[in-house]
């Protein structure tokens, strides 16, 4: 039994267009997404804007309503629980958001911020509370001198540490990290990633790591799920997906990332076109309008995710995967000239 099991998750939003409900637009933010996270493991959800990764995170955190599908945590479905039961179960799932400043209430002191989850779920005396808060702060590299200050007095990196300390207060099993380092400088990002790694080792935490920076994802995750327009294009062990991407979108995504090694100047592989709207996604495979290997079947039928070589790929070409290790995306690469 995995720690977190997401099965067929679908989330829709309505955007009011007119006075009547009939004229509303429906955003298919997340469509039939499935994945699992084991204890102590890091699963990364990557994708570009509009792919639905943040919505998946919010659904797991019970901040967004799922239209269908199930989310099972520690074996129990979250949706079916009564509010009190759910509240107790959610103690074990905590979150760290992207913007360090806006995720901390500006008028509270660091002590009150980190103590808040403890105040909600337990009755500790002030002195014990303070001691526990201090030990949490020490875990993230802060100290007594920070206890009574307010968020605006700290740097982005420090605020993110405060947010992490707060997330650890209830000793969760799973921490959802929504782009935790995107708003930070490179050197600060490195410190936070190192900290997250240490904490994971020490406390046996599982991470659901949402990010758009593929280099960061590669360095922190055990497994990765690549999302496009609300669906998972490819999912599998991080090392494999990055070394030998199977889905054409993954290939394009990895190829677009500029390497900081100027000598590895293979030229960025340019994927043409823009991301289509999530209100009217393309029929069939949602990636087909931009896919260099698009076949007639891709326009007609959405590909079912199939298990190929140890991972899930949602692509009609996946059947061409042969056991010598060439994946469909890469195989087709050799026959199609560089796009740019």
């Amino acid at each position: 039994m995995s720690l977190l099991e997401v099965d067929g998750l679908t989330v829709h939003f309505r955007i009011r267009r007119g006075l009547s409900r009939r004229s509303d637009d429906v955003v298919h933010a997340v469509d039939d997404v499935s994945f699992a996270i084991e204890e102590g493991e890091t699963l990364a959800l990557v994708g570009e804007s509009g792919c639905g990764k943040t919505t998946v995170a919010r659904a797991v955190l019970q901040l967004a309503q799922s239209a269908s599908g199930s989310i099972r945590f520690q074996g129990k479905g979250l949706a079916g629980m009564k509010p009190r039961e759910r509240r107790a179960a959610m103690r074990d799932i905590q979150v760290v958001f992207q913007d360090p400043y806006s995720s901390l209430s500006p008028r509270l002191t660091v002590h009150d911020l980190v103590a808040e989850p403890l105040r909600v779920h337990s009755h500790m005396r002030a002195r014990d509370l303070e001691r526990r808060v201090l030990s949490l702060l020490e875990m993230v590299g802060l100290g007594t001198q920070h206890l009574w200050r307010r968020p605006h007095e700290f740097s982005g990196g420090q605020c993110q540490r405060i947010a992490i300390a707060r997330a650890l207060a209830l000793e969760p099993k799973l921490v959802v990290l929504d782009e935790p380092t995107s708003a930070l400088d490179v050197s600060v990002q490195a410190r936070i990633l190192v900290l997250l790694d240490e904490l994971q080792e020490r406390l046996g935490l599982a991470y659901l790591f949402i990010a758009h920076d593929l280099a960061v994802v590669e360095s922190v995750s055990d497994s990765v799920a690549v999302m496009y327009l609300g669906q998972i294009a490819e999912r599998g062990p991080a090392g494999e997906v990055f070394d030998q991407p199977g889905h054409p979108y993954t290939v394009a995504l990895l190829g677009s990332v500029p390497s900081p090694d100027p000598e590895a100047r293979s030229g960025m592989r340019v994927l043409e076109g823009d991301v289509p709207s999530a209100i009217t996604p393309p029929p069939g495979c949602r990636f087909h309008p931009r896919c260099p290997f698009c076949m007639p079947i891709c326009e007609a039928e959405p590909p079912r995710p199939r298990m190929v070589g140890g991972r899930w790929i949602a692509c009609h070409l996946a059947d061409d995967f042969d056991l010598t290790g060439t994946t469909p995306g890469r195989a087709a690469e050799r026959t199609v000239p560089h796009a740019g």
Binding site: V186, S187, L193, A215, S219, P258, P262, V275
Partner: protein
């Protein structure tokens, strides 16, 4: 390839509620014709301020340039009057910014905005200006039809908006473009498109560029030379392969090693300490409190740029000690 733009020892301060911020403390850089120079650094290092200062767009009286020169085609821009600077902006030096949505007026059609720029600088008829606008759109990879000209900014996607801004910037044929984080707000696949476009523009139009970014990958794949900034100075400037892979400055080395590319989280290196407060910066070399190789001189005097190779300068006493002006073999 001659020098198109030379910034020499540029100093800038601005007044804030808490005191005087010494934002730029001697910035030195060179941009040659048809060259793409990357201006890289973390937040607060002064890269955007430098870009704005070149165009004379720093807010007076809060901000003040207190020293140095900005030479464009031999002429010191700091001595130009504001009217003369207005003639220069958009015509000889153009700029695109991070958020294309904020750079375009939402109530005007994109075509009209480009036409406006052309007419202001070239004084031609509306019809001619429209032709120029169409050519500008084609140059940036947008369909040069009237359909595109008639669009409003919110009807375009992020990538297309940024292209429109670049069309506006290059419509009058500026030889130098300053791009301030032009792809930071874009998705990585769109970013690749825009970066390729920048390279393209250099090939087809011969536009030299200053590419301001905090992303070393962007700089590595797009720029010919880069200038690394820290706390208001350029600490190293040179060919991109040399500066990134064979750097002579401790900060550049440390920064490169912080990158997660190809490293697992436990392998990541970090830089001890924090970015200095520019109201009360460290004495001498501003990086010395965080530097592994700092010695006495570093705290007392500010290192000046010393040439350590072909078009490669470093501002660091330790680097000087290690072997100052030995020329480095030119990289391919």
């Amino acid at each position: 390839m001659g020098e198109l733009l030379t910034v020499q020892d540029l100093k800038l301060e601005f007044r804030s509620m808490r005191g005087l911020v010494k934002a730029l403390d001697g910035v030195n850089l060179r941009v040659h014709e048809r060259e793409i120079l990357g201006l890289v650094g973390e937040s607060g290092c002064g890269k955007t301020v430098t870009g704005l200062a070149i165009l004379g767009l720093v807010q007076r009286p809060q901000a003040e340039i207190t020293g140095g020169e900005i030479r464009f085609r031999g002429e010191n821009l700091l001595e130009r009057s504001e009217t003369a600077m207005q003639r220069l902006r958009g015509r000889e030096i153009s700029m695109v910014f991070q958020d294309p949505l904020a750079s375009l007026n939402p109530v005007f059609q994109v075509g009209d905005q480009i036409v406006d720029v052309v007419r202001v600088h070239k004084g031609v008829s509306r019809k001619e200006a429209k032709e120029t606008a169409r050519r500008a759109l084609a140059a940036v990879g947008l369909p040069p039809q009237d359909e595109t000209l008639k669009r409003y900014p919110h009807q375009l996607s992020g990538g297309m908006r940024q292209r429109a801004c670049m069309a506006m910037a290059l419509a009058c044929g500026s030889p130098l473009l300053i791009a301030d984080e032009p792809t930071t707000a874009l998705d990585v696949t769109i970013q690749a498109q825009i970066l390729n476009l920048l390279l393209d523009l250099r090939e087809s139009l011969g536009v030299a560029q200053v590419l301001i970014t905090h992303n070393l990958g962007v700089a590595a794949q797009t720029c010919d030379r880069i200038a690394v900034m820290y706390a208001g100075t350029v600490v190293e400037e040179g060919p991109v392969a040399v500066v990134l892979k064979h750097s002579r400055h401790p900060y550049t080395v440390a920064l490169y090693e912080c990158l997660p590319h190809g490293r697992t989280a436990s392998e990541l290196k970090t830089i001890p300490g924090t970015v200095p407060d520019l109201i009360d910066p460290p004495s001498g070399c501003r990086f010395h409190p965080r530097c592994d190789h700092a010695f006495d001189a570093c705290a007392t005097a500010k290192p000046r740029p010393v040439q350590v190779g072909e078009r490669h300068w470093v501002s660091c006493f330790w680097a000087e000690q290690q072997g100052g002006t030995r020329p480095v073999e030119a990289e391919a």
